[in-house]
Amino acid sequence: MERDMQARRKRAGPPPIFRIIFLALFILFVLIPLYWVFVTSIKPSDDYLAVPPVWFPEQPTLVHYTAALFAYHGLTGLINSIVISVSATILSCLVGTLMAYSLARFNTGGPHLSFWVLSQRFLPPIAIILPLFLNYRLVGLQDTHLGLILAYTVFTLPVSVWMMFAYFRQMPRSLEEAALVDGCTRWTAFWRVAVPLAAPGIVAAAVFTFIACWTEFFFAIVLTSRDAFTLPTVFRAFLSFQGAQYGEASALAIVSLVPSIVLGVLVQKHLVRGLTLGALRG
């Protein structure tokens, strides 16, 4: 008992006070930018250009939110982001689940096919974006919702496929075999037994896919301009003003980051799996 305590104390590392200070500083480091964005978003315009800086506004305002959403097309960007991210997520998870099941159960294409899908995750987007842009212009997908939905579906497929792959792999094969003997076809065994059992995994994969689409910037600025632009691309509008539009930028940032943070924290127990494409379990 006493030895156990000693072992624990020794393993614990530096004295607790040291650790507490370090962790507190790191938490502060994480929170400061978030706080500053939030506080800037509710400051009256005079306050955020003031020296010394205003740490907390005495008269918080929501004017920047209305300005960002309506004067700077933030609302259009928001709607586009929702439409594109949700569509791409559904498509990616649907197609990804089918593929993951095939890879997990039938080892389809040996290790090559699954690695080929994975390698898409590590292709530098710049290598694909140039020809994709040219082809999108040719077939009329440039600056369309569909164009970005397809691009996002493909670039999130490695995440959904590999996460679901890990889920199906850990599911006992005998369940589907029982279903096959019971009278199911391969398809009904998949649809009525495997998919319901993998539902928590599918939800987690969907959330990570959604966050990836929601926060994506590079494809969006190249493949969209006036019609299908997403929320992150709206920030371009604030670049040239040298600080004059910081309230609007911050308001838009808050609008954009709240949904993805909420979703991300909700599925955080799947986070390790999501970040490592199923290679590690949390």
């Binding site: 292709l123 694909i128 579906t153 986070l271 379990r281």
Partner: protein
């Protein structure tokens, strides 16, 4: 009993029993992968193949026609000093970012291994940066570092007692410092999360055995902890490396590559060549060079790390 469960219902689809099970299984498994494969072929592979043609022709919104130009696109990139410079910026920033993120993430993970009250909440806070668009991260740091309106210089002035007027986003080397800061802020949690999972999976009896053997704390760390989580370390660092070399979003929003071309990363350089100067074939040639360099890393590192049988 036997009579009450009499065989009244016949199998409705008995007519289809002639379907060869073997063949239908094979069809089924390929049918399932078809949509995904087609999508990847259309959106990722076809453009790559198409771009091979672009590599050797003129494809430029400023010069009409698609004349064959041989290797000119490649030579233009290779002999462009900015291209080579941007590659070194990419390598330098990548190594710096990942090294700092790794060390900081490891220390935070070590500090978080032991459970304490509120640990769950702390973890939830620490992972928040992972769910934010890099553009917004960049924007947030612009607000903080902005000169003269951001709080940074003001606080530093109070601290050193004289006025600090560092232009964090436009002045060397502070502009690099700012880029590193944003990247570290966003991605240290990535390392932290993976290493924390690794550390908490080390069984307690391993440490207890070491304790019984009278092994010191540093030795425990080097000879037990590190080897145990080494695969996770390698995995986390590889994933980070492969993402870090794409560095684009924060540069776009924070420095715009400037001053001049000082903070051009490879991706940013290629983006400007392709999409602001519209030398598409030259940018494509550069992208292929970059792709091949990346693929070398992917093939050598990732293939070893991630086997389909993992877990």
């Amino acid at each position: 009993m036997a009579s009450s469960v009499a065989r009244t219902g016949e199998i409705p689809e008995s007519g289809r029993s002639g379907v060869s099970a073997r063949r239908s299984d094979a069809q089924f498994k390929w049918l399932l992968v078809t949509p995904a494969v087609l999508l990847i072929l259309a959106i990722s592979i076809y453009p790559l193949v198409f771009s091979i043609w672009i590599l050797f022709v003129n494809y430029d919104f400023q010069i009409p026609g698609h004349a064959f130009v041989g290797l000119k696109n490649f030579t233009q990139v290779i002999f462009d000093p900015v291209a080579r410079y941007s590659l070194w910026v990419t390598v330098g920033l990548t190594v710096t970012n990942v090294a700092i993120e790794f060390l900081l993430g490891l220390v935070v993970a070590l500090a978080m291994v032991k459970t304490f009250r509120g640990r769950g909440v702390v973890i939830s806070i620490l992972i928040v940066p992972l769910f934010i668009s890099p553009v917004i991260v960049g924007q947030a740091w612009v607000l903080i570092l902005h000169s003269p309106f951001g709080p940074t210089n003001y606080l530093l002035s109070m601290f050193v007692g004289e006025e600090v007027t560092i232009k964090w986003l436009t002045q060397w080397p502070y502009n690099f410092f700012a880029l590193v800061l944003a990247d570290v802020w966003q991605w240290t949690p990535f390392i932290f999360v993976i290493l924390l999972a690794g550390l908490t999976s080390i069984p307690a009896h391993v440490y207890e055995a070491a304790e019984l053997d009278g092994v010191g704390r540093w030795q425990v760390f080097w000879h037990i902890t590190v080897p145990y989580i080494a695969p996770m370390m390698l995995l986390a660092v590889t994933f980070r490396l492969l993402d870090a070399i794409r560095l684009f979003d924060t540069i776009f929003i924070m420095t715009g590559g400037g001053p001049g071309t000082q903070t051009y990363s490879a991706s940013y350089y290629l983006y400007t060549i392709g999409f602001t100067q519209f030398h598409l074939s030259r940018a494509t040639a550069g992208a292929w060079i970059f792709l091949v360099l990346t693929l070398l890393v992917v093939v050598f590192l990732v293939r070893r790390l991630l086997k389909p049988e993992a877990n």
